[in-house]
Structures are given as C-alpha cells and as structure tokens.
Symmetry: C2
Subunit: 284 residues, 2 copies
C-alpha cells in the first residue's frame, strides 16, 4: 500500500472507515510537521501498536498567541512526506486552514486549572487551541489510539484529561522524550539556536538530571532543588528562565514529595527560541 496524502475531512473519514471495515486498527500521530527524530519515535510507537498509522501535519493557528511564531513556524511538507513514507506511514492528513476552521468557528475545548499553569502562564490561550484542534482531529481521523510525546508533558496531561472527561473513544499513548546525544530534547525550535546557544542549551537536561539526583539522594525540599537548578542554568548559559516548576505529575497541583510522582518542568528562552524540557521524579 502506498502512502496516501489526504487534504479533506470527508476523504480522511472515508479512509478510516475503509480501514476499520477491514478489521484493522488505526494509530494516530498529530504533528505540526517539520518532523524530527522525536516525531519519528512517536510514529514508530504507533506502528508497533496498530495495523495502520495516520500522521497529521497541520500548523494549528489557534494554539499560537498574537505575538507568537505562527507565521515563521518552520514548514517543509515535501521533507515531512518523505520522512513519513520512509517510516511506513499509511496516510498523511494535510488539511489547510479553510478545511479546519470555518469563518463561523466559535467552539473551544478548555481544561480548567490545568491550562493556566506552567507554559499556560506565558501562553494563556495555547492549550485551549491544542485541546480544540485535537478534539477536531479525533473526530475527523477517528483512530483507536493517538500518540503524544512526554516532551510536552503538560500537553500530554491535558490531552489525557480531555480525552477522559469528554469520553473520546481514543486511547492516549505517551511516548518518552527523544534527545540529542548531548541530552538536548529534540524540538523543531532547536533550529533557531545559534551554535553558542545550541551548546549552552544542554544545561537544561543537566539541570533536570541534577534535580533527579538530589531527589533520589533524599532531598525532598523542592524549593531548594528548584533554586539549585536556577543557579546552574544561570551560571552556564545566557538563557532567560521563563519558569522552573515542580507539580503533581497527574493533577499539575502542588507536589507531594515522597507521596506521588512529581513533574519538574522548565521553559527557558534562548531568543528567539523558547525551549521546554521535563523529568518525572518517581516517589522516592
């Protein structure tokens, strides 16, 4: 079967219907394109679990704020298409904005509390854009499961919450973070980094590993751990810290050291890029 590129909603629905009528399962990987190893690892997860895999490539305008990088978000469909083909993807859903949002569009999916912390503090409408487009894509593609990356930890938690709360008949699979050899988490935005920034940015992962070490050594003073991370990042890079936060890894509420898993998440500006990374501290 050759890979199909599908641009319209009715064609996408018909494709899934035909696949399901043959008794085959459909795995789904929603992306904004400009694929890197991180995305490919999600695709491989989907391939392992389903007979057919759909990748969507759509830079969703509703998850960008007015001063964010929607216009200059990197796009290269031909390259993405080749990468998907090489991974054995069965269909790429590649709609344009008119196909996805009518001029009458008024509906948003929101997750209260979860979307205003961490990245939501500096990007107040970001997650409602994400949950809205994912709800739309679930209804269009109608997969058996969808794969999201742990890289966007808050996004993964919010999507899981949404899928459960709205009873979507779609299983949410969260795949681990894929890193460069020096530890930097893969991201489409890494291409914005100067060679010097690229080198400095490795401190992000080192700060997370340090936090993990502190915690497993018995330091349950989360404020102290955050302070040490901040000091390390400021000492070894020119990055401007947006946030370093420790929250409950499921509810995003206050952390309970020693009782429940803790998500340590950070966002740091290496202008013009804003990089995120995270680690989960199991109860130790």
């Amino acid at each position: 079967m050759t890979m199909k590129v599908i641009k319209t909603i009715p064609e996408m629905r018909a494709w899934t219907q035909a696949v399901k009528a043959r008794g085959e399962t459909v795995g789904f990987v929603p992306t904004m394109g400009f694929l890197h190893e991180g995305h490919l690892s999600l695709i491989r997860q989907a391939k392992k679990r389903a007979q057919r895999v759909v990748v969507s490539i759509y830079v969703n305008p509703t998850q960008f704020g007015p001063n964010e990088d929607f216009e200059k978000y990197p796009r290269d469909f031909e390259r993405d298409e080749q990468l998907c083909k090489a991974e054995g993807v069965d269909a790429v859903f590649y709609p344009d904005d008119n196909e996805m949002y009518s001029s009458l569009h008024k509906t948003y999916v929101i997750t209260e509390d979860l979307s205003q912390v961490l990245c939501g503090r500096s990007r107040p409408t970001h997650f409602r854009g994400v949950t809205t487009v994912v709800a739309k894509l679930f209804n269009i593609v109608q997969p058996d499961f969808a794969v999201f990356g742990q890289k966007d930890a808050q996004q993964a938690i919010i999507i899981k919450r949404m899928a459960e709360d709205l009873n979507f008949p779609v299983e949410i699979v969260v795949a681990p973070i894929i890193r460069e050899k020096d530890g930097l988490a893969m991201s489409s935005r890494n291409k914005y980094l100067s060679p010097r920034q690229r080198k400095e940015a490795t401190v992000l992962y080192r700060s997370l590993k340090m936090a993990e070490q502190e915690y497993s050594n018995g330091n349950h003073d989360i404020e102290d751990i955050k302070k040490k991370m901040r000091q390390l990042i400021e000492a070894e890079s020119s990055g401007k810290i947006d946030y370093i936060e420790a929250v409950d890894a499921e509810t995003l509420g206050p952390p309970r050291p020693g009782e429940r898993p803790i998500l340590i998440a950070l966002a740091v500006y290496f202008e013009p890029a804003r990089l995120i990374d995270n680690i989960i501290l199991q109860k130790g």
Copy 2:
C-alpha cells in the same frame, strides 16, 4: 427486540458497536427525562430516520447554576421507561453522576459569543454545561444523528455550531416545537405552574404569533414589535419578563429584517418556573 436500559459507558458503547456491525443506523435523543409530548415527538422523528433509537435520560448537573433547580428538577424514571417502551425505543442510556463526571473532571466545551446572549445572560454557565454533556454523550453513544427540539432554539443553534466546529460525525436534526392545544409550548417545567399561571402563560405564544403577524404585514421595526409583545405579556399575565429578544436565526447576532431569518425568543418567569418560547420569522 426488547428495550434495553443501559447504565454504564462501556455497555453503551458495546451496544452501538453491535448495532453498527449489523449495518443498522442509530438515532439519538438526549433528554433530562420527565418526558412529555415534546420529547416523544423527538423520539418519533428519530424512529422515522434510523433503524435503532437511543434515548438518554440524565439530569446534567453542569448545566444548572448554583441557585437553579437541579435538586428539584422533576424525575420519574419508571414513567419515562414506560413511555420510551411504548414509543419503540431500543435503548435507554441512564447513567448516574459518578458514571458521567469523575472527581477530576476539568474539561468544558464552550461556544464563544453564542452562549452569553438570550438565556445565557441570566444563566452564564448553562450552555457550556449543555455543550459539554452533549459532546460526552456523542462520544459515548456514537449515533449517526441526534435530534434536538426547536423549543430550545438557542440550544439547537449552539449544538449545531459545536458539532460542526468540532467535526463530530453526528448529524444534528432540529424538530419543531410541540404545543398544548391552547398554544403553550410543552415543557417539564409547566408542572410548576398554578392553574392561574397556566392560563396566563398562553400569552407567550400569542405574543409570538402577534410578532409574526406584524412582521408579515410589513412591520420591520423590530424594536416596535418587541415593545408590543412586552405590552401584551404585561397586560395579560403576572409573568415577569426575563427577556424578549430578536436575533439572527443562525448567528444569534443583530437581526437583519427583510434579509435573513430572525429568531424571536423570550423567557418569562412564572415563579417558580421560568418558561421559554420562540418563533422564526422568515425573511418577508
């Protein structure tokens, strides 16, 4: 086939899956129970169009405000069950609150602009409760189409908007208002009326018919029509007007007399009940 009463989400999904596997279509009528002729007319519409019909009976807490009548909203499941049986309904979905909302629930579906006008003005969180539970029910029941009543005109418009915006694979069917012989629109809340209020409440429909008459006679001064309606209702009843509004029948924005259909909608308190009714003025 005898009618099945289904209380859990997995059983509901399995039922629909089995029906669809037989190549049959599923029509869906979501209700809050305490069924009257209005509901039965929706069920009959569904029966006409689908091989199998599901009715949900669930008093949804998230669409009631803190000072509204959630606790004392009328409930009578045995009676509803008998009525559904008599209409040839195939399955009744009758979940409890624990089945529908987990303690971790955080997700809401909102329709901007549409939900803050008309009834939304005095019930600010009502429609987000409606869109949220309907999204949930669509994902649980997975019907081919769902039937809503024109009685709740704003609700029908909002649900249509939501279904289209979020690409739900569910057709929205809107069925006409069913009235008592004297014109009063059927409603579960009519039972709260005293005999005197019940008699007075007929002025609501008469005011709408008068508006229609004025409009078709060439009076395109909408403010004048609303004033005449207000005068009639105040002269002939003890009801307290919540609103009398004229809006575009699709966008709920400003009306354009002579150009596009206009929705005239009203809500009037006959304490403790709050009654709603509406009429659509075709472009004349």
